[in-house]
Symmetry: C2
Amino acid sequence: DILERPEGLELGGDLRRVTIMMSDIRSFTTLSEQLEPAQVVTLINRYLAAMTDIIMAYNGTIDEFIGDAILAVFGAPQRRDDDADRAVQCALDMQAAMEEINRLNREDGLPEISTGIALNTGDVIAGNIGSERRSKYGFVGHPMNVTSRIEDVTAGGEILISESTLQSLKPGYRIGDSQELKVKGIDELLRVHHILEAAP
Amino acid sequence: DILERPEGLELGGDLRRVTIMMSDIRSFTTLSEQLEPAQVVTLINRYLAAMTDIIMAYNGTIDEFIGDAILAVFGAPQRRDDDADRAVQCALDMQAAMEEINRLNREDGLPEISTGIALNTGDVIAGNIGSERRSKYGFVGHPMNVTSRIEDVTAGGEILISESTLQSLKPGYRIGDSQELKVKGIDELLRVHHILEAAP
């Protein structure tokens, strides 16, 4: 695992163009209050296990699980020309996988869940963040905050991508409605787009 | 490290009363845009190293570094009677440590920074979150979201604690102004208090 043996890579802090993914189970906290703690962990872990497999299959780097939220990047530590495309295809596969997850949930008497996925592309500082006692390969920069803001408005079952991610994609995706967001610390409105389908 | 060898503890998902800490360097993203990537990593790591040492000295459990933000809990995996008190004393020490951090920053030609620290006490589900390929000891529940909301309004140099944390403290702290917050998903306003000083 390249993240475990950083000596082969420049991890001291460099500026990287990445596509950032944030996903979140809609209303999970409220849902979790109606369940036993062990059920909550079963539900969240079934979901995270499936999502982890898909993200890794697309060479995404999982930065964090934060409760039920996932933060991942495409393009660091290794950049590839199709980082944005892989991120979008990954998000489409993640949404498609929810059907099977909910089938298993119904079998186990657990509630159905839905996830919202936000993607944004921009330059971030990537490096080993932390101390000698505890460190991780992590990311800093406005594009991280912007992704979080997009995720805030993403409904269950949706994939919302920023204009910068759209511009980074190869042609052929089916794009749905777009909308404009106000983001703290940024003067212009941010345009985001629904991704409906991959190139045929 | 107890978190590395979970077999000795019940980590399958149980409800725990914990005091949650979130801290954040104010305007760090904007600050970081005026610096070289290596300087950003130097700045953030000096800060995180100092904060990690203090949090560990108070037996806090660091859940995550998320960029420059720190998420820690007091009371899991091990509960102690003074979880809330240790969290507050830890926060006071963290704020006190900023002076030395900024002295070193000035020496290195780096900008001064300030941190805001939010504390909240409540019942969360704690357990091993993730998959076989990647898991961590993590936390789920409304008190996590509430802490994040308090952190949003905490200014540099401040410590804001929720009413529930205040009620969990032993007497003797010097408390400053209080204010009320609207939190998504919660009907009543949330009362938060400034902590100014520990018991003499």
